[in-house]
């Protein structure tokens, strides 16, 4: 069964600095999708970034980028120039195919220090 692990329950970063959140997953599939979701205090789940496993190029979305290491089954999220609004729970997620369940990691709580 697929599993997603986030080994950092809590992280903190100084405003304007860079932080990296870790995620590892377990799968025997070669094609799949990986996501990072953000859940601010409002609890609304917001998609941050998406990576397709067949693409070697790391996804980037403004200040957010990923380091996708397929062989190592690692999918870390880098937040550059951290802002106060980045404070939230961050969830890593895995999806095998379009018609299968999305599996979430336990989350990392990110605090941004002014």
């Amino acid at each position: 069964a697929q599993t997603v692990t986030q080994s950092q329950p809590e992280m903190s970063v100084q405003e304007a600095e860079t932080v990296t959140l870790s995620c590892t997953y377990d799968t025997s599939e070669s094609d799949y999708y990986l996501f990072w979701y953000k859940q601010p205090p409002s609890r609304q789940m917001i998609l941050v970034i998406r990576q397709e496993a067949y693409k070697q190029q790391n996804a980037t979305e403004n200040r957010f980028s990923v380091n996708f290491q397929k062989a190592a089954k690692s999918f870390s999220l880098k937040i550059s120039d951290s802002q106060l609004g980045d404070a939230a729970m961050y969830f890593c997620a895995y999806l095998k195919t379009s018609y299968d369940k999305v599996i979430f990691g336990p989350g990392t709580s990110l605090s941004v220090i002014p």
Binding site: Y37, M45, R50, S98, Y99, K101, V102, I103, F104, G107
Partner: protein, 112 residues
């Protein structure tokens, strides 16, 4: 554009009472539908997912059930709530052409 509606936003129910949470999606057809539960300060636990009408997959044995009576309607139910059913329930959907999940605004359920 697609939208997802989930209600109610907040619900307080006594132990042993029934439950019905409803989720509907607009602007798409044949979506995959999901129910997740999030305990306070914890991650998301997948409860049920459905890839079509009448097709329900259960991930965690419990006293909850789900039904999909229509293509874009997903209902979470219980005949008798337990204290441990308290939590934040999120409905979500995704589709074949765009695999990212779209979430509803959630229901905070407190069982007293």
């Amino acid at each position: 554009s697609q939208t997802i509606h989930q209600w109610p936003a907040t619900l307080v129910q006594p132990v042993g009472s029934p439950l019905s949470l409803e989720c509907t999606v607009e602007g798409t057809s044949n979506p995959n539908l999901y129910w997740y539960r999030q305990a306070a300060g914890r991650g998301l636990q997948l409860l049920f997912y459905s890839v079509g009408i009448g097709q329900i997959s259960s991930e965690v044995p419990q006293n909850l059930s789900a039904s999909r009576p229509q293509d874009r309607q997903f209902i979470l139910s219980s005949k008798k709530l337990l204290l441990s059913d308290s939590g934040f329930y999120l409905c979500a959907w995704n589709a074949g052409l765009n695999e990212k999940l779209f979430f509803g605004s959630g229901t905070q359920l407190s069982v007293l």
